[in-house]
């Protein structure tokens, strides 16, 4: 009845992960090289696109391509595709926090003087034009 009994099963209460450590399956060399080639193609693509004038879209395309490369590295070189789901969660939560940091900070820096016309701002940072109702 006591809590203290000789242990019957080993390790933590989680089911042992069949994709952890030494039990992970062996990747194919050709597959790794194929991923590398894909990464190279993406790199050449992003350099090529950078000389095309797409305006605001340039940044979007660059980030999208970079994210494709990052996804390839994370899924296949870092084995998240076959590894523990919790490790993937760690990455996702970290990226979410980066997103929060970005979004809320730029929400401020991009919107200075937007609501309160009485704020003593001489020049709106976003446009460089004199702020409405700016200080003397």
């Amino acid at each position: 009845m006591s809590q203290l009994e000789p242990r019957e099963t080993v390790a933590g209460a989680e089911a042992p992960s069949t994709h952890g450590g030494a039990l992970r399956h062996l990747g194919d060399v050709r597959f790794y090289v194929a991923v590398f080639v894909a990464l190279l193609c993406c790199t050449l693509l992003t350099v090529a696109v950078s000389s095309v004038h797409l305006g605001a879209l340039n940044l979007v395309v660059a980030i999208v391509i970079a994210s494709m490369k990052a996804t390839l590295v994370v899924l296949f070189f870092m084995h998240l595709a076959t590894g523990s789901r919790f490790n993937a969660m760690i990455l996702i939560v970290s990226l979410m926090m980066v997103g929060v940091f970005f979004a809320y900070t730029l929400n401020d820096t991009g919107r200075r003087t937007e609501v309160d016309v009485d704020q003593s701002a001489k020049v709106s940072p976003a446009t460089g034009l004199p702020a409405p109702g700016g200080a003397d």
Binding site: V10, A11, G12, P16, S17, G20, G21, A22, L23, R24, L26, G27, V29, Y32, V33, V35, F36, L39, L40, T43, T46, V47, S50, S51, V52, H53, L54, G55, N58, L59, A62, I63, I65, A66, K69, A70, V73, V74, F76, F77, M78, G83, S84, F86, N87, I90, L91, V93, S94, L95, M97, V98, F101, F102, T105, L106, T109, G110, P125, A126
Partner: protein, 232 residues
Amino acid sequence: MATDSSSRRPTFLADHFDTAEQQADAAKLGMWVFLGQEILFFAGLFVAYGVFRSWHPDVFSAASHALSKPMGTANTVVLLFSSLTAALAVRAAQRGARHQTTALLLVTIACALAFLVVKYFEYQHKFHTGLLPGQWFGVPRTFPGGAVMQRGEAAPALPAGAGAFFSLYFVMTGVHALHIIVGIGVLTWILIRNLRGQFSAEFFTPVDNVALYWHLVDLVWIYLFPLLYLID
């Protein structure tokens, strides 16, 4: 009967773990948590970049053209290749192929060193042409030997605010380069341990985890490259 389980315990298994798998899983999880924190560390730099670029998009665009796209692209390719060799090194270690692991680790380290060499030339060029951070942008300087650079002489016609871009450029690539140097250090440590025969098909976790770190360094560069070098 009190069993002496020490004969069943592999030498690489630490006392506080029950099984090799538990140890490997814990180490890997810990490494991913550490990578999470590295991501947040670099995130600050990217946010600062985002803020200043959103405020001065033209300055950033002009300043970005002053960077060498060929060198940046070369460094990107080198780092991607080093990620490949690092992943292959882990695979070799997983197969217990000691010599292959050594060779692949050596190539990875060589790529890292090549990256730093290219970086050195990039920095040197900027120092000589006055493409410097903040206050120092375009400032007249006297070089050893007496040659004097006048303000705006070598720095291409960039707006004065370009100092902000180069502040971020140097801090971001500098912090990244520091991580490369640390990476070279830990890769070398793993190489030495591998040469000493400490790894096998049953135990190669340190190789796995150091490779994860190396991939992170690559990931950061994957974003740094377009944001710094490829602004239209």
